[in-house]
């Protein structure tokens, strides 16, 4: 799932300043799940901007709010077409994908990102998100038994561990488990430790070339 975080409020205030009529647009999928862009956050941001107006940090504005199921498909955005005429800017709380589809759909209206999209990840505990995939296009999770060294190792090395692994923790961040130690433990549990001796040739970096496009039939 795509994970995003809230943009600092002062940055948002700075971006919306020139516009009079603003629509805050939430997205009902990934950013709702990570609690930064769902209906609740839309309404919270609305309240916060209104306080900013009262405080004189912003000039008088017309703020409206709406949440669509998904902003990354323009079909969901068509319901906004009628309203778009009066709007000066859309403050989108969707991930970067959503903001771009929105901007393409309403090419005459400035679209402002309200969140920072950061990674694809999972929630190990309530309210905490960890990166789990970098979208490298060359998945090797079979060899590592479901632990991705590219997203979970600070160095992203394919033949680990490096010399910096200490007490099972990473030298770059002592709060983070060493991904290669996790791989080692899991291989041991599955009786496949010989895979540790195997050499992994360098990855196909050609697949990381951007912009990526894929055709799926």
């Amino acid at each position: 799932m795509i994970v995003a975080e809230r943009k600092p409020l002062d940055e948002i205030i700075g971006m919306v300043r020139p516009f009079k009529n603003i629509l805050i647009l939430g997205c009902g999928t990934c950013v709702t799940v990570c609690n930064v862009g769902g209906e609740r956050e839309v309404s919270l941001l609305d309240a916060a901007l209104r306080v900013a107006i009262t405080k004189g940090m912003l000039e008088e504005k017309v703020i409206s709010q709406y949440t669509v199921k998904r902003q990354c498909d323009k079909e969901f955005l068509t319901s906004l077409l009628g309203k778009a005429e009066e709007i000066d800017a859309i403050l989108s709380l969707a991930c970067g994908v959503g903001v771009q589809v929105l901007a393409d759909t309403f090419s005459d209206i400035p679209c402002i990102p309200g969140v920072n999209t950061i990674f694809m990840g999972a929630q190990p505990e309530m309210g905490v998100w960890d990166e789990r995939c970098i979208g490298c296009g060359d998945c090797r999770l079979f060899e590592t038994l479901g632990i991705c060294p590219l997203s979970r190792c600070a160095k992203g090395i394919l033949n680990g561990p490096c010399g910096g692994s200490k007490n099972g923790k990473c030298e770059a961040n002592k709060d983070v488990d060493c991904a290669w130690l996790l791989i080692y433990d899991r291989l041991e549990r599955h009786g496949q430790l010989e895979k540790m001796r195997q050499y992994y040739p360098p990855r196909d970096y050609g697949r990381l070339r951007r912009p990526k496009r894929v055709t799926i039939l």
Binding site: D10, V33, E39, E41, L44, A47, V51, Q65
Partner: protein, 693 residues
């Protein structure tokens, strides 16, 4: 998604019928009034009670409270003391001042024979509908069994008098000392419909040897004589035979009349006794010995005096079809000494033959169970005369039903059985939820000390004080009022509800959808305030909108000049439960606006920020405190949200200290609150100085 449709959906009442309401013959909104009592809104609670109960002050004393038996709190610890809470609402809500306005709408006069609870209730509802009603009572004073069958210590006569006076003020005519012998005469006099509710006033006897000895009485005559103020002779050693409420009343009355030793003999085992558990307990507390599992073979006499009873062991009371069919062990004889015996083994009605009504088993009038019609046109019957001895609340319920059926008859309508629109809460609470619910012991209504109460025929049960009543009402689990995923299409299946629920109620079903079973949810509202998609709502519309409405009111209120506006979200349950906040609420300090919330777990981050838009200088949240909260850890959720709110206001140029969370049971709560207010004032002052410069 957030258009007019969802606005409309938000106003729909989606609550389910709780088991207590289902069990009540009058179908009273018990959960609603208990919740209102918990919030300290006693007048409103009484209004809810009055809505479906014509005589709440009578029920407050003598209702056999079937609702408490069904109360699901009983599975957790003990049921909520619903009857005692009603008594509290009646006494503190000013029931005595309530007057029901009525006027004559229809011309058809209705006669009611008998002024017992069924008759009074029927008269009340017919009068509300606009019929001229006359009640005929054979005795000197109206009230039927309420007056002659229930001792003063259970139902003070002044309560009954008050209710009857209210009826006469409504324009109901009550003719006492008027026994009716013929129904034809009433029809001739112009009454268009008659409701026969003559009760079951004839005490049954067992038909055993020695029953006709002096000092052997039947229970109902015994109580009647006491209640009518006659001089009743009492023995030293009294034995009451029977296991029902009348038997208990006879035993307690005997003690109060001066009997030295009172004993109860009954067929049933203790758990089978028809009398209420609390009634039995009171008898035991007053030193009355109860012999369970014995039948009476004969009354032993010495000359013309009672000497005692010969008892036989009772093996079983009911047969396999749950019918009354006692089996005895004739060989196991035992004896009990007595110089007076009271048989309280049931009553039966005596229907005058000239009524020409068809009489069935046990001398009761035969009626159609739906329409309450008898074999005679225009004659309806109900109450004990139809069902045999039953409780007051059941009589009130038939009275109400009779009023509707008589109305249908007189208006030539098809009698439709009324059905509640609310779906009953069907399934049981899961064990997991039961374990997670905080155990809080039941507050029994206080009783007068034993030595004091056995001497007089005075009501011995006292009323709760405010604090206990609110604590008791807070124990209600608010069954069927909980959260629901209201707008399925919004749910992103983020599982936040599943993770935040303190009671482990939401779960993922086989299809991968989140479900919140209504039978488990206790309506704490935490998932509602956390759901990022805002797909979850509480089932009761007023619960959903309450904070918004209050904030709207604040917006429209006139700001206090010169004082910093401080908004306090205070737990409504705690507001009245603790002294510190209640004084604060009633005399708001200038510039402080209190928004009562039903548990601080329901406050959302947005609510904490919105007051700043209305120029508030500070916001505080005061919960009812860990100790008196009916739940565990609600404050943690409020504190977490407050942290987020602080973060947001810090971006808006406010100091983080402007938001604070208290709990009202903290010892120095008032001091801390004063400090907070002082701090906010200082901040405002320094800001004004800065801006002035």
């Amino acid at each position: 998604m957030n258009g007019a449709r969802s606005q409309r959906l938000k106003t729909i009442d989606r609550t389910l019928m709780p088991p207590c309401q289902e069990a009540c013959p009058l179908n009273q909104d018990i959960r609603e009034y208990v919740d209102l009592i918990a919030q300290g809104r006693i007048m409103e609670a009484l209004k809810v009670i009055r809505d479906k109960n014509p005589f709440p002050s009578i029920c407050a004393y003598v209702c056999p409270h079937k609702c408490e038996e069904k109360c699901r709190r009983g599975k957790v610890d003990m049921p909520v003391a619903i009857r005692a809470l009603k008594r509290f609402a009646v006494e503190f809500g000013g029931d005595q001042m309530v007057r029901t306005e009525t006027e004559n709408v229809y011309e058809e006069r209705v006669a009611i024979i008998g002024s017992g609870p069924a008759g009074l209730s029927c008269a009340y509802y017919l009068r509300v509908l606009g019929y001229p009603v006359t009640i005929f009572e054979a005795h000197r004073e109206p009230g039927g069994m309420l007056r002659v069958g229930i001792p003063e210590f259970r139902l003070p006569k002044r309560m009954l008098d008050m209710e009857i006076e209210r009826l006469t003020l409504m324009g109901i005519e009550i003719r006492t000392n008027t026994p009716i012998t013929s129904l034809d005469l009433l029809f001739e006099k112009g009454y268009k419909a008659i409701f026969v509710t003559v009760g079951a006033q004839e005490g049954r006897k067992l038909g055993i040897e020695g029953e006709d000895t002096p000092y052997v009485m039947d229970g109902i005559s015994f109580l009647r004589e006491i209640n009518l103020g006659m001089k009743v002779r009492i023995g030293d050693r009294v034995v009451v035979v029977g296991g029902g409420g009348v038997a208990m009343d006879c035993a307690l009355s005997s003690l109060r009349l001066g009997a030295k030793h009172v004993e109860i003999v009954c067929l049933e085992k203790e758990e089978e006794m028809p009398a209420g558990k609390d009634e039995v307990q009171i008898c035991k507390d007053e030193g009355i010995n109860i012999r369970n599992g014995f039948g009476v073979k004969k009354v032993l006499r010495e000359g013309n005096k009672v000497k005692g009873l010969e008892l036989i062991k009772c093996l079983s009371v009911f047969d396999e079809n749950r019918r009354f069919n006692p089996k005895f062990d004739e060989s196991a004889l035992s004896y009990v000494d007595a110089d007076m015996v009271i048989f309280a083994v049931g009553q039966m009605p005596r229907i005058p033959e000239d009524f020409h009504l068809e009489v069935g088993r046990g001398g009761t009038i035969k009626v159609d169970p739906v329409t309450l019609t008898t074999n005679r046109k225009g004659v309806f019957a109900g109450g004990d005369a139809v069902t045999g001895p039953a409780s007051v609340v059941e009589a009130l319920s038939t009275g109400k039903k009779a009023a509707k059926r008589i109305d249908d008859y007189l208006r030539h309508r098809y009698p439709f059985e009324e059905r509640s629109e609310k779906e009953p809460l069907s399934s049981e609470m899961s064990q997991k939820t039961i374990e997670m619910i905080r155990k809080i012991s039941r507050h029994e209504p206080p009783l007068k000390p034993r030595d004091e109460r056995v001497k007089r025929f005075e009501a011995f049960e006292l009323v709760y004080n405010w604090e206990t009543a609110i604590d008791e009402a807070k124990r209600c689990l608010r069954c069927g009022m909980g959260a629901e995923i209201f707008e399925r299409d919004k749910c992103a299946s983020c599982l936040t509800c599943l993770r935040v629920c303190p009671y482990h109620v939401p779960y993922l079903n086989e299809k991968g959808d989140v479900e919140i079973p209504p039978s488990d949810c206790v309506a704490c509202g935490i998932c509602v305030s956390e759901c990022p998609a805002r797909a979850i709502f509480l089932r009761k519309p007023s619960d959903r909108r309450q904070i918004e409405t209050e904030l709207y009111e604040l917006k429209n209120s006139i700001p206090q000049k010169g004082w910093p506006l401080i908004v306090g979200f205070c737990c409504q349950y705690g507001l009245f439960g603790t002294g510190s906040l209640s004084s604060f609420y009633r005399h708001p300090k200038t510039g402080i606006h209190i928004i009562p919330v039903l548990c601080i777990g329901k406050i959302e981050v947005e609510h904490m920020i919105r007051p700043f838009e209305l120029n508030a200088q500070g916001v505080f949240i005061a919960g009812c405190g860990e100790k008196q909260c009916a739940r565990d850890n609600t404050e943690i959720f409020a504190r977490r949200k407050a942290e987020k709110a602080k973060e947001i206001i810090s971006y808006l140029g406010f100091e983080k200290e402007r938001i604070e969370v208290f709990s009202s049971t903290e010892k120095d709560m008032e001091k801390r609150l004063d400090q907070f207010i002082e701090k906010i004032s200082e901040m405002m002052l320094s800001r004004m100085l800065k801006e002035g410069r």
